[in-house]
Symmetry: C2
Subunit: 915 residues, 2 copies
C-alpha cells in the first residue's frame, strides 16, 4: 500500500519499477515482432509459418538454403492481431523494430531509403499461414518520390523510373488512400488520347513524368492531402494497409470457403524491390516444378520479358513458355522461351527448383524475377494442382523415395478426387466445337451461360447449373466460381487467377479463349457465327480447352494406374469399410468398379418409378380395399424380385442392405386426370373412388407423415411383398447359381423399439415361409435406420430387435434441426453467409448436434449388443470430414454414392493415419 | 450322475426323494393358493390385495371385522398367472386346496355341495388388484342340478328354485360353454308368447322348470355335450372361465385405458350364495357411504326387494332408494325405501357402513343382500366418485380428522379436476329441454348424436364431437364412452354401468331417461314431439339430468370453498410453479382466477388473426420490399403494444414470457382472390406481384420450414417491431401506472447457439433504444424455447446466450419422433391400439425419448448456468404424468392452458409428496 501511494505522489514521470521493466523485457523477448532475411542468412525458418506466414517462412528458408532472395524482413502474424487489438494502430515498439530491420536491408544492398543517389525501393506484401492468392493487398515500388525517382532514372532509365513512379502512386493511392483506380486509368486514357496513341508502350518518359504530376494532383483533389513523399510515412501507411486488407470482403469470403480462422492474421513482408521491367535484360515469371495439370515430371512455367510479376499473374498479357518443352509446335522456330532468351538464368533456375523440390519434398510453385540478367527468387510454396496431378506427383514421389506411402495418401485432398471420378465428354457424342481456349482445369461441364458471379448465385438458387463466362476473373468472382459447373475466360494463361483458383476448386475451366467477344450490355457473347445469350446451354472440356455448343453426353472416367496404386495404399491403412448407396444394377456395377465393398442403402422405392411399374404401384396405393392392394402387389413382386437378382449378382460376395418402402405414398401418385382414370380402370373402380382416396393421402408435412415403417404398420402386405421379393431373389441365386448371399433387410424411420419388433416379426415370418417354400438354407439380417432423434436416444431398446444399425444422416439432420431439406434453400444460404451455421449441414455432418445424437445412438446400441454392426448412409457418407467423424466413432462402414466411393476410401485412410 | 441313473431305472412310480419333497413343501408354504374366510375369521386380510385381489382382500377384511359375510374362499392372483403358464389348466395342487377350502365352507354353513337335502350353492367371481367393474365374468347359483334344484325348491319355493336353475344354466352356458345368451333368451320369449304373457313375473314354477329342460336340450344341441350336472365339474369349469375372462377383449381394453398391467392376473372368489330374490323378505342393494356425486355426507344407495344383485347393477329394473333421505318428493308417502321396508336390516347396514368407512378411512361402495331378513355383506371397496365429491370428501375427512392434508391431496386424481374446471351450461342461455333423466355424472356436454360405440369412433376420427345415446351401456361401449363428450341412456340408475363408468371417466352422463325411444334401424330417437336423427346436435346437463335440443352456451365453473381449501394444501406442498399459456387478456384473466403464477407462453401470432389486424399482417408478409414491410409493421405495432399492456395488467406482479413470431408466414395468408386484391391495394402494388410472392411462400414441410427465429434472421424488422411493442408496453405501465414488470422475451425454434446470439443482440439493441427513448429503467430477460432436438443436445452452448429456457414439448415431440401432429391422426390411433406406443405422445410426454432429450437439455443448460430458469410449455404442462416428470427434473415451472392450471398444481403437489 505504502509503495503504491508514494509512487502516486511522485507523479507520472517516475521511471517504472524494476519489476515492471523486467516484465516488459520478458514480453518483448518472447514475441519478436520482425524477422530479417538477406545476405544468405535469415532469422526465421521454413517451419515458422504460424508467425511468419507461408511466404515469409519460405523467403527465410530459401535465404538459408543459399538461394538468391532480395533482402527484407517479415512482420509477424501476432503483430496483425495486435494491430486489430490496438484499434488498427502500429505500436511504437513495432516501428522501432521495423526501422532496425530496414537498416539491415539498406546495409545488405548498399542502398538507402530516400537516398536520391542510390534509392532503396521495397515491396510490401501480405502472407498468411496458408496461401490466399490475390485476396489481400500488395504495394510495389515503395520509396519513390520526386527525388528518388530522379535518382532511379539516373541509375537506369528515365522512362522506366517514371512508369514505376506512376504505378506506385496508383497502387498506393488505391490500397492505402482508398482511391478508385479508375480515376488514375482515366487520366492515362486521356493522355494517350491527347497523344493520339493507343498502347502504353508508345508513351515516352516525359509522358510518364507528366502523368505522375497529374496523379498527385488527383490525390490532393480527392483526399485533400498531398501524396506522401516521405518513404517512412509511405512504409507505415503500406504496412497498415496490408494488415487492414486481412479483413476486406474478398479475404473474408475466401476464408469462409476455405475454413480459415480470422484469428490467424497475416504477416507482412517488406522486401527490396527487384525489377523485371527495367529493360530487355529483365524478366519475370512463375513456374511449377512439375506440371500442375497432369503431374508429369516436367519443369513447367511461364514468363514475360521486361515485365512486372503482376503482368503474368493477372493474365493481362499472355506469357511465353519458360522452356523449349513448353512451346507450342507453331512457335518451334521462334526463340521465345526463357531457356532460349536467358540461358544462364534459366540454368540457375533449374538448379534452384531441383534444390527446392528436394528440400520441401513436394511440388513447388515459384516466382522469380530477372533484373539486369541476375536471377532473384521471390517466392516458393507447395503448388496447387489438379487431382490427376496430385495423384501422379504423390505416387511418383514415392517411387523416387522422396516420400513414403502414408505421406502420399496425406498429400491428396479427398474432395479433389471428385475431378477424376466424374464423367468426361463422351468421345462418341457429336459435338459442335465453337471455340478453343487453354485447358486450365480438367473435367467436363455443362450448364447455362451466366456473365457474372451474382447471376450465377441467382440461377443456382433456382436449381440451375451454370457456366460462368468472364473476360477474366478476379477475387470478387470467388463465390460465383465456387457454385458454377465450369468457368470460361477470354483472357489469361494457365497461371492466371481463373486457372489457379479453378484447379484448387476442382472445377472444369477453360481460359484465354480470345476468340469470343462478350457484350455485357446485351448479355450475349459471339464467337464465329454463333450468338450465345444468357441461359443458353454450353459445354466445356477442361482437359482439351474445347468450348462446345449445347449439352453433350458424358462417359465415366478412366482411372490411371497411379490412381490404382494410391487406392492400394489407401486400402492398406483405412479401417472403415466403404459401401455404396445403389438403387439399380447399373449403380451397383459402377460402385463395384470404384471398389465399393457392398451396398449400404438400396432404396426399393426408386425402382417403383420405372415406367412399366408405376401403374401397378399406383394401383397398390389407391386400392380401396385389401384385395385390390394384394392384386397390385402381386404385379410388383416379380419386378422387385428381378431387380434384386440383378443387384445381388453385381454384388456377388458383398453384403447388400435393402431398405423397405420409405417415402410417403403420395409421392407415387398420378399427376394428371388421365393417369388417375387409368389407375381406376386397372383397379376396376369408379374414378370418384380413386379421387376420394387421393384426397385422403394429402399431408401437411409429408416428411413427418405416414411414411417409413409407419406404412409397414398400416399396410403389412407391402412389406411382406418386399421381403418375399428379397428372399425369393436370394433363394434363386443360391439354388441356381450357387452364390453366397446374406441379404440385409432394413426397416426405415423407426422411432420406437416396438415398431422394429413388429416389423421384424413380420419380416421373419415371411422370410421363413419363403425359405420353406423354396427349400433353401439362407441367413439374413433384419436391421434398422437410425434416422430419428428418438431412435438415437432409445437405441439401446431398439438394438434388442436389430441385427444392424444404419444411421440415416439425411433424415436425422432434418429432424434434429427441424429443417426440411426441400424448403431450407430459402434461408440456409443466408445462415451460412451470416455465419450462423459454419456450412450446409446436409453437405457436411453437423458434428456438434446431429453427430452428438449419432454418438449417443452408437453408444447405446453397443451397450445392448457390443458387436452390433453400425454404418451410415446418406450424402454425408462421401464427405471427408464426416467420414473422419465416423472413423473416430469406430463405425463399421460408411455408404455413399458410387462416384464418391474412392473419396470416402481416401478419407477413411487419412482419418486412420491422422488419428 | 449315479443317483440320476438309478432313479431313472427304478421307473416313474418311485416316490420323490426327500429333498424334493421338502422343496415342494417349501414352495407350497411360500405360495398359499387358497385363502378361506367365514365364521368371523379369515386367513387373508385387507392388505393382501396383490394376491387376493381387491374383492377377496376386502371380504377377508370384512370377515375379520366381524361383519356378516357369506363364507367362501379366494384363489390367489398367482394361480391366475400359473393358469396361463400351464396352458390354461388348473393344477392338481390347486384343485386339492380348493376341495379342502370347500369343505370348510360346507362346515361353516352346515350345507353340502350336491346335497339334495340342503344344497350348498356358490358364486364364482373375479377380483383383480384394482376394481374393473363388469369387465370379467361371474357365475351365480353354481351347484344346481336336477336333484339339488328339487331340494332347494323343497327348502324355499319351487318357482324361485327353477328360476335360479335356469339362470344358472344360461349364465354357465354363456360364460363357461360359450353359448350366445340370445339362444336362451329366444326360448324364454317363445315360452312367454306361447303362454300369452309379456313379463317374466307372470311365469309360474312349472314354466321355469320346463324352460330348464329346453335350456339343457339347447346346450346339448349346440355343444354336443350334456350340461354338466356334477357341481364339482361345474366348479372347475367356472374357475377356469373366470381366469379366462382376464384376457377377454373388454378386459384388455379396460386395462389399456386404465394402464393396468396384464401380468397382475385376477383372483377368483368362490363364496356361498345368498339370495335376495327368494321372496318378499329378501332384497339386494348397492350403497355408497357418502353421495358419490356431490360428496355430501349422506348414506346413499339403491336396492330392489326380491331381486338379485345384477338386477340393480345392470339397470334392468330401476331401483328404489335405500333410505327416506333418498326418496323423491312424489314418493314421500310411499314406503318404498329399505329404511322403511327392512328397518332391522337397514339399522344393521348403517352400523356396518360406519364401521367400514372408519376402518378404511375412505368413502365405501358396498353391496349387500338380505335373505330371509338376514343381512349379508357381499362387497366393500373405495367408491368411485365425481371430482366434486372427491374434493368434498377429502376436505371433509380432514375436518373429521380421519385423514391429514397430505392424504387429502393424494386422494384426488388430477385429471378428474377437469370436470370441475370446465364450463357448465349458461343459466341465462335459452334452452329447449326435451327430456329429463338421472344426473349421473356432472358437467355439460354438447355434441352430435351417435347410436353406437363404433359410430362414435368414426365420427370422432373426423374431428367431430359426439353424444353417445344408448338404451343401456355395457362394457363393450367403453371405447365409445371414452371418446364421447357425454352419454345418454334410456335405462339404468345412478349405479348402473353407464353412471359408474362415466363418473370414473369424468364424462357428463344422464341415465334412465325412459322418455326417449330409440329406433336403431333408422338411427333416430323420438321424445315428445321431437325426432332426433344421427348427427343432430344435442346438449346434456349431467348435473341436472336435462336433455336439451341443439347447442347451448356455457359458463365458467364456480369453484367451491372445499376446492379452495384443497388448493391451499396443494400450494403448501408443491415445489413446481405453475404458469399458463395465454395469448389474450381474457386468457390471462381466466388463468389468474385459477391461480396461475405467470404466463409461460404468450403466442404473439395468435393476436395477428383478429379481424382488424389480419390485413396489416398480410401486407407485412406479402410486401415485396423492405419499405412495404416497414409500413405494414408500423400499423401492427400499436395493436401489439395495446395487447401487451392489457396482458401485463392482468398479470401484475407475475412474470410474462412472450414468444416472438413463430409459425410459417403462409399461415396468415389470404384464402380468397378478393382478400389478395385487398392486400395488393393496401400495399399499392399490382395483384400479380402479390400472387408471385404468395407462390414463393409455399412450403413442402412448413413445420420444418421458414418459421421461428428463421423469420427473425431473414426479416429482422418483424422481431424488432415485436420487441419494441413489448418494451414500450412495459415502459408505459411502469411510467403511468407504477407497475413492476420484467418482460421475458422468448426466441422460438432455436437450433444453434448462433441463432440465439444474433436474435439476442437484435432484441437488446431495440430494447435499449426504447428504454432510452422512453426514459425508463426496466429489466427484461431474453431466453429461448428448447423445442428442437439439436437445441437440447447443444443446450450448453445455447445457454451462454439465454436468460431462461422453456421446453416446447409439442414441437420437440414432433421432431424427436419425426411425427407431424397434423398428419399423425391417420396412423397414431393404430399405433396406440397395437400397443406400439403406450399412448399418444402429444397428450402425455414420451419420457423415454422426448423426456430423455429434455433431461439432456436441462443438464447441459445447468452445466453452463447453474441457476438458469427452466420450464416447459405445451399441452404436456397440464398432463399429470408429465408434470411429475418435470418435478423430478427439478424444473422451475410448467405452463399449461388456463383451465388446466389447478390440475397442474395438484399434479405438482402429488409429485412432491410422492417423490
Amino acid at each position: 500500500m505504502a509503495t503504491k501511494k508514494s509512487a502516486k505522489r511522485t507523479g507520472k514521470k517516475t521511471a517504472p519499477k524494476k519489476s515492471t521493466a523486467k516484465a516488459a523485457a520478458k514480453t518483448k523477448s518472447t514475441s519478436k515482432s520482425v524477422y530479417f532475411f538477406g545476405d544468405g542468412k535469415a532469422e526465421g525458418k521454413g517451419k515458422m509459418k504460424e508467425i511468419l506466414g507461408g511466404k515469409g517462412a519460405n523467403l527465410a528458408e530459401m535465404t538459408n538454403l543459399g538461394i538468391p532472395v532480395p533482402p527484407g524482413f517479415t512482420i509477424t502474424t501476432s503483430e496483425c492481431v495486435n494491430f486489430y487489438k490496438k484499434g488498427k494502430k502500429l505500436s511504437p515498439a513495432l516501428k522501432k523494430d521495423v526501422l532496425a530491420a530496414l537498416k539491415r536491408v539498406e546495409k545488405a544492398l548498399g542502398k538507402s531509403f530516400n537516398d536520391p543517389q542510390n534509392p532503396l525501393l521495397v515491396s510490401v506484401r501480405s502472407g498468411a499461414r496458408v496461401s490466399m492468392p490475390g485476396m489481400m493487398d500488395t504495394i510495389l515500388n515503395l520509396g519513390l518520390n520526386d527525388e528518388t525517382a530522379a535518382g532511379l532514372a539516373e541509375q537506369s532509365d528515365e522512362r522506366f523510373a517514371y512508369d514505376s513512379y506512376r504505378r506506385f502512386i496508383q497502387m498506393y493511392g488505391n490500397v492505402v488512400l482508398g482511391i478508385d483506380s479508375a480515376n488514375f486509368e482515366h487520366l492515362l486514357e486521356d493522355l494517350k488520347d491527347s497523344k493520339g496513341v493507343s498502347e502504353d508502350t508508345q508513351l515516352k518518359a516525359a509522358d510518364w513524368k507528366k502523368l505522375v504530376g497529374l496523379y498527385k494532383e488527383k490525390v490532393l483533389q480527392l483526399t485533400g492531402k498531398e501524396f506522401p513523399s516521405d518513404p517512412m510515412q509511405q512504409l507505415w501507411g503500406a504496412i497498415s494497409a496490408v494488415f487492414d486488407s486481412w479483413m476486406n470482403k474478398r479475404a473474408i469470403e475466401y476464408r469462409r470457403i476455405n475454413s480459415i480462422p480470422a484469428e490467424w492474421g497475416t504477416a507482412v513482408n517488406v522486401q527490396a524491390m527487384v525489377f523485371g521491367n527495367m529493360g530487355d535484360d529483365c524478366a519475370t515469371g512463375v513456374a511449377f516444378t512439375r506440371d500442375p495439370s497432369t503431374g508429369d515430371k516436367i519443369f513447367f512455367g511461364e514468363y514475360l520479358p521486361n515485365a512486372q510479376g503482376e503482368d503474368v499473374v493477372a493474365g493481362i498479357r499472355t506469357p511465353y513458355p519458360i522452356n523449349k518443352a513448353g512451346k507450342k509446335p507453331q512457335d518451334k522456330n521462334n526463340p521465345i522461351s526463357m531457356e532460349e532468351k536467358f540461358p544462364k538464368c534459366y540454368k540457375q533456375l533449374v538448379a534452384i527448383y531441383k534444390k527446392l523440390e528436394k528440400h520441401y519434398r513436394d511440388m513447388q510453385d515459384i516466382e522469380f524475377t530477372v533484373q539486369e540478367d541476375k536471377l532473384w527468387m521471390l517466392q516458393t510454396r507447395n503448388g496447387k494442382r489438379t487431382a490427376r496431378a496430385a495423384v501422379k506427383i504423390a505416387t511418383d514421389m514415392v517411387k523416387e523415395r522422396l516420400i513414403n506411402d502414408k505421406e502420399a495418401i496425406l498429400r491428396i485432398q479427398p474432395e479433389q478426387l471428385d475431378q477424376l471420378l466424374h464423367p468426361t465428354l463422351d468421345p462418341a457424342a457429336s459435338k459442335e466445337v465453337i471455340a478453343h481456349g487453354l485447358p486450365a482445369s480438367p473435367g467436363a461441364a455443362t450448364g447455362q451461360v451466366v456473365f457474372s458471379s451474382e447471376e450465377a448465385v441467382e440461377e443456382v438458387a433456382k436449381g440451375r447449373k451454370v457456366i460462368l463466362v468472364r473476360v477474366e476473373t478476379s477475387p470478387e468472382d470467388i463465390q460465383g466460381m465456387n457454385i458454377s459447373e465450369g468457368i470460361l475466360t477470354v483472357r489469361g494463361g494457365m497461371t492466371s487467377h481463373a486457372a489457379v483458383v479453378a484447379r484448387g476448386m476442382g472445377k472444369c475451366c477453360v481460359v484465354g479463349c480470345g476468340e469470343i467477344h462478350i457484350n455485357p450490355m446485351t448479355r450475349r457473347f459471339s464467337v464465329g457465327g454463333h450468338d450465345i445469350k444468357q441461359g443458353d446451354w454450353l459445354t466445356l472440356d477442361g482437359s482439351t480447352g474445347e468450348v462446345i455448343l449445347g449439352q453433350v453426353a458424358t462417359v465415366k472416367p478412366e482411372l490411371s494406374s497411379d490412381f490404382g496404386q494410391l487406392m492400394k495404399w489407401v486400402d492398406k491403412y483405412r479401417k472403415l469399410k466403404v459401401r455404396t448407396n445403389a438403387d439399380t444394377p447399373l449403380d451397383a456395377k459402377t460402385a463395384r468398379s470404384f471398389g465399393a465393398e457392398g451396398i449400404g442403402l438400396c432404396r426399393t422405392e426408386h425402382m417403383f418409378f420405372a415406367e412399366d411399374r408405376i401403374q401397378a404401384v399406383r394401383e397398390m396405393i389407391l386400392a380401396t380395399d385389401h384385395e385390390g392392394r394384394e392384386n397390385a402387389l402381386a404385379k410388383i413382386l416379380p419386378m422387385q424380385r428381378g431387380d434384386f437378382i440383378k443387384i445381388f449378382r453385381e454384388m456377388k460376395g458383398f453384403p447388400v442392405t435393402i431398405r423397405l418402402l420409405d417415402p410417403p405414398l403420395h409421392e407415387f401418385l398420378p399427376h394428371t386426370q388421365e393417369e388417375l382414370q387409368s389407375v381406376a380402370n386397372g383397379l376396376g373402380v369408379p374414378l370418384s373412388a380413386i379421387e376420394e382416396k387421393y384426397e385422403t393421402l394429402k399431408e401437411f408435412n409429408p416428411m413427418l407423415g405416414h411414411r417409413g415403417c409407419r406404412l409397414g404398420v398400416s399396410f403389412p402386405e407391402i412389406y411382406d411383398m418386399q421381403v418375399r421379393a428379397i428372399i425369393e431373389a436370394a433363394a434363386e441365386l443360391i439354388k441356381k447359381e450357387g452364390y453366397k448371399i446374406k441379404p440385409e433387410i432394413m426397416i426405415p424411420l423407426v422411432g420406437h423399439a416396438n415398431e422394429l419388433k413388429l416389423m421384424r416379426e413380420n419380416a421373419v415370418r415371411v422370410a421363413e415361409l419363403v425359405k420353406k417354400e423354396k427349400g433353401v438354407r439362407l441367413t439374413y439380417l433384419v436391421g434398422t435406420m437410425i434416422e430419428l432423434p428418438r431412435a438415437a436416444i432409445t437405441a439401446d431398446k431398439i438394438a434388442e430387435h436389430a441385427d444392424f444399425f444404419s444411421c440415416g444422416t439425411n433424415d436425422l439432420t432434418q429432424t434434429t434441426f427441424g429443417l426440411s431439406r426441400d424448403d431450407s434453400q430459402k434461408f440456409l444460404p443466408t445462415y451460412v453467409e451470416k455465419k450462423i451455421l459454419p456450412n450446409d449441414p446436409f453437405v457436411s455432418l453437423d458434428q456438434c448436434g446431429v453427430g452428438e445424437l449419432i454418438k449417443i445412438g452408437v453408444k447405446k446400441g453397443h451397450d445392448t449388443k457390443p458387436n452390433l454392426k453400425i454404418g451410415i448412409c446418406g450424402e454425408h457418407g462421401g464427405d471427408p470430414a464426416s467420414v473422419e467423424f465416423c472413423h473416430k466413432l469406430d463405425l463399421n462402414y460408411v455408404s455413399c454414392s458410387p462416384y464418391r466411393v474412392p473419396i470416402a476410401k481416401l478419407s477413411a485412410a487419412i482419418a486412420a493415419l491422422r488419428n
